[in-house]
Amino acid sequence: MGKLYDLLTRDIRFVEGLKACLNCGTCTAICPAAEFYDYQPRQILEILQGKEDGSIEELLRGDMIWYCGECMSCVTRCPRGNAPGLLITALRSLSQELGYFVESEKGRQQLAIKRTVGEWILEYGYCLFPSNIRPELHPEQGPVWQWEIEHLPDVMERLGANYRKTGPGILRKIPDEDLAELHRIFEVTGGLARYRKIEDFSRQKAREMNLELDDGLESEYIRHIYTTCDPKHTATR
């Protein structure tokens, strides 16, 4: 057993997710990611069952583990009770812990997610907040969303929200003391440490790639990871 495999077995989701795969390919047949990307969850299970460090490191440094959408359709259908989607969560965690995620185009995207959803969780207490879902970043949201954003407080009031106000209700202002508790949970449980690792490894990579990276969402590196899509990901279909 290799060192990386050993690290994976410390993740409860890995223990839960990998029993005994017979490589039947049912997970691949049902997988929405496998239809879109050059991707086979079956192949990941095969590599993991091999327990060989070199192959696992290649996984952790590559794009493949980032193709999954974590819909968990594979969990329902696996005849042996494996959970490939859960194994992906363990692999992605380890890839970030070791800093390998910055070695792939898809893995590098983690910084953009941390700087949006990750920061919004701590700032607002919500994973998403409407004023941050900017039409220029989300053209697919269409003209109705554009109109909502232009009249956000009024639209939210019409729809019955308690937008940014105190007390219970839709999109309320979550009290500062509760946000402070959330922050402490992140501190105690390793959430902030994960955020710091994503930042630190990304800054190092940005320097290597000679791309400017500041603290916001407008720098070269962020724009690069948010929009770059090599055709190789879907090239074989």
Binding site: Q96, I121, V144, W145, E150, I170
Partner: protein, 356 residues
């Protein structure tokens, strides 16, 4: 599949759904994109069904979108969930109801983890105490809000003003139901009806007079995929999966799509607009798209609530063709007004997706 076979499967997946005294936690996605759905749910529960539903302003996101895009570690999410349970415990409730499907899946995952690995539960208690000083009891009952509407579907039908019947032809409307993946694909036993043929929305549609369409890609994911939507470079994944579903349901001419997950109706609504812009393809009658409703919106419509109070004006695909079929009156001039009739202007009309 023959109906008898489905009914046998449904018998195998019956879940306990508490009948009163619920602790309610909201959905990040729902609050952003279809906020009125949560308002309608609480109105139905409190005013129509006279149920005790409690919301504590101190509750937060479960961190689910962060967890499933892998920036938030499992220990963190587990402890955030433990805090929600602590708030429930402190308020004196034992029945936990969540508005979000991602959350429902995560609450189920955490509860299963704690059941099979008791040390993880000890760890969550320790972390929560250390971070907040709080303690918690486990809920006796965890349900998704759609489970409760399913539970009281007959009562809603009994109080309802409308049915899913074409008011001119007398024929049942043809309905596609779409279940959020995390409702039942991970833990079929935690759902109404299991993962292959979930009954939670079918039960509502049948009770309210509609016909359910069985089409090849019925169980396929809407394509959210967390990081696959959050990052612009990956959004083709999300769009392609929704497109696969639209193409598959198209020959059955659905009158509308009904969903129970907060994310799915947003994607199935917005991607129809996107496909009309990218490919010139429109679905539904006369290029108007297939309306996509949440189960709360549909419940409100059946009960005779005003469509604009239900929040149907924030759908990109126009809902008027569906309202016309059911015979629900609406005032087009009031569609985009603010509270107390404030003029907020109107959204631009998309060039290809047709509006009435």
């Amino acid at each position: 599949m023959i109906p008898e076979g489905k009914r046998k499967i449904w018998q195998d997946y019956q879940k306990e759904i508490a009948i009163d005294r619920y602790f309610y936690v909201r959905s990040c996605v729902r609050q952003n994109f279809f906020p009125a759905s949560e308002k309608v749910f609480l109105k139905i529960m409190r005013e129509e069904l006279a149920k005790d539903v409690y919301e504590n302003a101190a509750h937060t996101t479960c961190s689910g979108i962060g967890y499933h895009s892998d920036i938030v570690p499992f220990d963190t999410t587990m402890t955030v969930i433990a805090r929600q349970f602590a708030l429930m415990t402190e308020a004196g409730y034992r029945n936990f109801v969540t508005s979000c499907i991602t959350s429902f899946g995560l609450y189920s995952e955490v509860m299963e983890t704690w059941h099979h690995f008791p040390d993880e539960l000890k760890k969550a208690r320790k972390y929560l105490k250390q971070a907040t000083g709080r303690e918690f009891d486990l809920p006796e009952n965890i349900v998704h809000a759609s489970d409760i509407i399913f539970k009281f579907r007959k009562e809603i039908a009994g109080r309802g003003r409308y049915r899913l019947i074409h008011h001119l032809t007398g024929k049942p409307l043809q309905v596609v139901e779409h279940i959020g993946c995390h409702y039942s694909k991970m833990f079929p036993s935690k759902s109404v009806g299991g993962a292959e043929y979930p009954y939670v929305l079918v039960g509502m549609i049948e009770e309210w007079g509609g016909d359910v369409i069985d089409y090849p890609e019925r169980r396929h994911c809407c394509g959210f995929g967390f990081r696959q939507y959050l990052i612009k470079a990956n959004r083709g994944y999300s769009l392609a999966n929704s497109r696969k579903k639209f193409e598959s349901m198209k020959p059955y001419k659905p009158d509308f799509i009904l969903t129970n997950c907060p994310g799915c109706p947003m994607f199935l609504d917005r991607w129809q607009y996107t496909l009309s812009e990218m490919e010139g393809v429109t679905y539904g009658d006369q290029g108007r798209g297939i309306p996509v409703l949440t189960y709360e919106e549909l419940s409100g419509l059946m009960l005779g609530y005003d469509p604009w109070d239900v929040g149907l004006q924030v759908h990109q695909v126009p809902v008027e063709p569906l309202l016309d079929k059911i015979g629900i009156p609406y005032d087009p001039d009031k569609k985009y007004l603010g509270k107390e009739g404030v003029d907020l202007g109107k959204p631009a009309m998309p060039p290809r997706l047709k509006y009435p």
